[in-house]
Every structure is written in structure tokens, then in C-alpha cells.
């Protein structure tokens, strides 16, 4: 089932083109990695897809239903959340529990199953023992881990992740990728992930979108050549 369909998308900041000719889709069971040099408007593309920005041309269709015909739940991990550093009064447990709210728990108490989900999510990133800590007291890598735990607690149909592994060591990264792969292959989740670790991620992703600077444009404008399968045998980047 198609979760995201990006069709000839272009995005301009005022009159300056930043993205042109972007077309791809993310289906249920896809693990798509989105790469590009620094400043390649990867985050801008994600924000267009999520409806946080409006495309200047073309369109984005974000499915409203999941493959079981229920309401599609999107789990978004932004690159940076200012509240993490601004003394937001929340414990790790409170924050990860909030991941369950979009699962029909806005106005209901969390039940046993929700709490079990939260526990498993925190354990999967090794943060269960830190659950009573204030989020502002955590290190950068730990904050990243609880963002991941939170999105796993949501158990979304579609993961949209913006450089989620920043500050994590290579072993934790690999465990995280395995978990995502399991979610896409076994549970049919759709995954769209911005990353700089494309060497590490190649063996897990099944699609690779690379944003490349348009040479014929006087602006710093990015496009994609095609949506391809990640090459798994040679280590040079595209």
C-alpha cells in the first residue's frame, strides 16, 4: 500500500528554488534512506511531506489509512527539539508514554498494553533504568535514544526520521537499523529516514533517494536523479 506519493515536488524559499523535480513513493514495507550533502534541503523535503511546509509546485499525497484500513499513524523524529534543552519539565517515562497518545489515548488512561509497549521501547534503546530522570539532564546521545524510544512506543505505520542516530555509537546504530528493518519487513511499516550513515544503512534499506545539487541552476537547488536500490557491494557513495 502506498503511504507517501511525492509528485514533481518543487519548493522555493521566497523566490529562491531549493528543491526541484522530486518524485518518489514510500510504500508499506519500504525502508527508504534519503541522503544528500549538508544543506541539501533534506529536512525541507521531509517538512513538505508531513504538511509542515507547502510545496511551491507539485504535490504530496500522504495516505490517511494504513494497510489494515485504519487511520494512518505517523511517527516523526525531528532533527532537533528545542524543548530538550530548555528545561522542559518531564521525566523520560512521561515523554516516552506521550508516544502512546496518538494511538487513541488522547483522552483515555494508558492501559497495561500501553505501559508494556513503553517499557519494551525504553528497553530496546537501553534507557529503562533512566526512566525517572529529567529529560534535560540527559546527554545528547541519550536524548536521541529517548526520541527513538518514543517513536517506537507510538508503534506508527509510517516512520519519518530526520537523522535519528546523531550522537549514537555504531553498535547502537546497527541495533536500531535492525529493529527498523524488522518493523518494515515483518510488520509492513513504511520508513523514510534522512541519514548521513548511508554506508552502514545500505544493507538494511531497500530504496535510496539522493538529493544532488543541480548544476544548471545559479541557486543552491537540489534534485534527485532517480529512486534506486542501494548498492550493497561497493562502498563509494553515489
Amino acid at each position: 500500500m502506498r503511504y507517501i506519493n511525492v509528485n514533481e515536488l518543487a519548493f522555493h524559499y521566497e523566490d529562491e528554488p531549493v528543491l526541484e523535480n522530486i518524485s518518489f513513493e514510500v510504500n508499506s514495507g519500504d525502508f527508504v534512506m534519503l541522503t544528500g550533502e549538508n544543506g541539501a534541503a533534506k529536512t525541507t523535503l521531509l517538512r513538505n511531506i508531513l504538511g509542515l511546509l507547502k510545496p511551491s509546485r507539485g504535490n504530496v499525497e500522504l495516505s490517511t489509512k494504513n494497510r489494515r484500513g485504519e487511520k494512518l499513524v505517523v511517527g516523526y523524529v525531528p532533527q532537533q527539539v528545542a524543548s530538550f534543552n530548555a528545561g522542559f519539565p518531564s521525566t523520560v517515562l512521561e515523554l516516552v508514554q506521550s508516544g502512546r497518545y496518538p494511538r487513541g489515548k488522547w483522552f483515555k488512561r494508558l492501559d497495561k498494553e500501553d505501559k508494556e509497549h513503553v517499557r519494551r521501547s525504553l528497553e530496546s534503546v537501553g534507557m529503562w533504568d533512566m526512566r525517572h530522570k529529567k529529560i534535560g539532564e540527559l546527554s545528547g546521545g541519550q536524548k536521541q535514544r529517548i526520541s527513538i524510544a518514543r517513536v517506537f512506543a507510538t508503534d506508527p505505520d509510517l516512520f519519518v526520521l530526520d537523522e535519528p542516530t546523531t550522537g549514537m555509537d555504531s553498535q547502537s546504530r546497527e541495533e536500531f537499523y535492525r529493529l527498523l528493518k524488522h518493523n518494515s519487513r515483518v510488520h509492513g511499516k513504511g520508513i523514510l529516514m534522512v541519514t548521513h550513515d548511508h554506508e552502514e544503512l545500505r544493507q538494511f534499506a531497500n530504496k535510496h533517494i539522493e538529493l544532488i545539487r543541480k548544476e544548471d541552476s545559479p541557486w543552491r537547488c537540489f534534485s534527485m536523479d532517480s529512486c534506486k536500490e542501494p548498492s550493497r557491494h561497493h562502498s563509494s557513495s553515489h
Binding site: 508531513l50 516523526y76 527539539v81 522542559f88 521525566t91 497518545y101 496518538p102
Partner: protein, 282 residues
């Protein structure tokens, strides 16, 4: 002092404000809108001046004007997303300017009334205001209980809230309007110049004392009760303006909690270092 009707009403009003101020204050701080309370209190002066000029109840003109501006604030916040203080500066000075112009147009000697609204006065609290405040308190507490989870996500990160399917804009406007109405109602009691301190300080103090969201609200209510009630007693005893007395008590409480917290954390650090040194020696 407790036998006077106006003091009884003042204590009732202070109790009710203590229940609502930390809730609104926490969200204002976390949404980086602490100055919004100040803006709305200046604007509410224009509402009062309009009521006095038209010869109708300033409470209702005040509520109306503040509600309109609260909606405008959300629009300006989106327009000046990166420089949100522009909207604050614009509306704060604009509100004050309109108030002064309307007062100038009113030739029936309203300066006494305006002074009461600027600095607050215990004797101005009417039974009608206490009832209005009680209704508002019930509404805010119910809304907090019902919308606690969506508001938690909204204040944590608006983008995440949007992708989770929350009506971010509608929630922000509702919150601004509710804050505006609260300010319009409590402004005559504590004074336009200090109303934002009464709303923001209890939450700012309790944020230093609690790790959790609900903990901040509960401790904030206790802090607000201590500050409001003792400030009111001090105001009566020494004949000082209630808003100023309460604000000073909150500032002393803020200083004390900061000092105690700093002492505790440095002694904890020392204990840890000693333990580390002992382990190193062994």
C-alpha cells in the same frame, strides 16, 4: 481583617487565581510566551478605558478586547515566527497607546479608576468578579484535565504535535483566548503592570522544584497559594498595593529556591567527589 467583606472576596479571588495561574504560567513559559501575559495586560487597559469611555462595564469590554487581541497574537506569532517578540512589542505599546488615547478622550475624570486598574486594589473586587473568576477557574481546570495530553505534546514540539494529528492552530488560539480572559478578569485585582508576574512566577519557581509536568503544576499551586495569601495579608497590614506585595514575595521565593537548590546540588557534588576519591584510594 477576615470580617471585612472586601477582604473575604480578596481571599476568595486569590485562592481561585492560585489554582489557575500555575497552569497558564507553565504553558506560557514552555511556549516561550511569558511576555504574552504582559502584552495582554497592557491591551486589557485599553479594554477598560473603552468601557469607561462608553459608560458600560469595563469588565466586559476588557474581556472582549483581550479576546480579539489574543487571536491576533497567534496570527502575528506565525507571521513573525523567528522574531516573535516583534508581535509582543507591537501589541504591548499599541495597547497602552490606545488606552492613553481613550483616557484622553474621556473628560469625566477617569484617572482614579485607571490607577486602580494599573496597580490593582483590594477594594475593587466585586462579588460579580469573584463569581466570574470561579466560573473561569472551573473551565480552566476542566480544560486542563481534558486537554492535558494534547497540550503536553503541543508545548514539547509543535511539529510533532501537528504530525500526530492535533489541531495545533485551534489549540493555540483557544489557549491564547483563555489566557486573555483570565488576565482581563484578574487584572483589576492585581494590577495591569504586575499581572504577568502573578501568572508566570509560580510556574517558574515550581519548574526548579519538580522533574515532572504534573509535579510542576501541583507545586506551582502550593507556591501560588503561599505567595498570594501572604502577599494579600502583607498588603492589608502595610497598606501596600496587592499586586506589588505578591510579586515581591514570589521573587523572594524564587531567590530562596534557587539558593537552596544550588546549595543542595553543590553538596551532592562534593559527596560524590569524596566517594570517588575514597574509591580511588582503595
Amino acid at each position: 481583617m477576615f470580617f471585612y467583606g472586601f477582604m473575604q472576596r480578596a481571599f476568595q479571588a486569590s485562592f481561585l487565581i492560585s489554582l489557575t495561574a500555575p497552569i497558564l504560567g507553565l504553558f506560557l513559559i514552555l511556549r516561550r510566551q511569558s511576555l504574552m501575559a504582559d502584552t495582554l495586560s497592557h491591551v486589557s487597559l485599553a479594554g477598560v478605558a473603552l468601557g469607561l469611555l462608553l459608560g458600560i462595564s469595563p469588565t466586559w469590554t476588557n474581556i472582549f478586547v483581550v479576546m480579539v487581541v489574543a487571536v491576533a497574537l497567534e496570527y502575528l506569532r506565525l507571521v513573525y515566527r523567528t522574531y516573535s517578540e516583534i508581535s509582543v512589542a507591537m501589541l504591548m505599546s499599541g495597547g497602552m497607546a490606545v488606552a492613553l488615547v481613550l483616557m484622553g478622550l474621556n473628560e469625566s475624570g477617569t484617572s482614579v479608576s485607571i490607577n486602580q486598574f494599573l496597580f490593582g486594589s483590594i477594594v475593587t473586587i466585586s462579588q460579580e468578579q469573584v463569581i466570574l473568576l470561579a466560573v473561569l477557574t472551573v473551565i480552566i481546570i476542566i480544560l486542563y484535565i481534558v486537554f492535558r495530553k494534547p497540550m503536553y505534546i503541543l508545548t514539547f514540539d509543535e511539529d510533532t504535535a501537528f504530525t500526530a494529528g492535533l489541531p495545533v492552530r485551534a489549540m493555540s488560539i483557544l489557549f491564547n483566548v483563555l489566557t486573555g480572559v483570565t488576565i482581563a478578569v484578574i487584572m483589576p485585582i492585581v494590577g495591569a503592570l504586575l499581572v504577568s508576574a502573578i501568572i508566570v512566577l509560580p510556574a517558574a519557581i515550581s519548574m526548579r522544584l519538580s522533574k515532572s509536568f504534573n509535579g510542576v503544576i501541583l507545586i506551582g499551586i502550593v507556591v501560588a497559594l503561599i505567595g498570594m495569601l501572604s502577599g494579600l495579608v502583607a498588603s492589608y497590614q502595610y497598606g501596600t498595593p496587592p499586586g506589588a506585595s505578591i510579586t515581591l514575595i514570589f521573587i523572594v521565593l524564587f531567590g530562596l529556591t534557587s539558593l537552596i537548590k544550588k546549595t543542595l546540588s553543590s553538596s551532592r557534588r562534593e559527596r560524590l567527589n569524596k566517594r570517588r576519591d575514597l574509591a580511588g584510594d582503595q
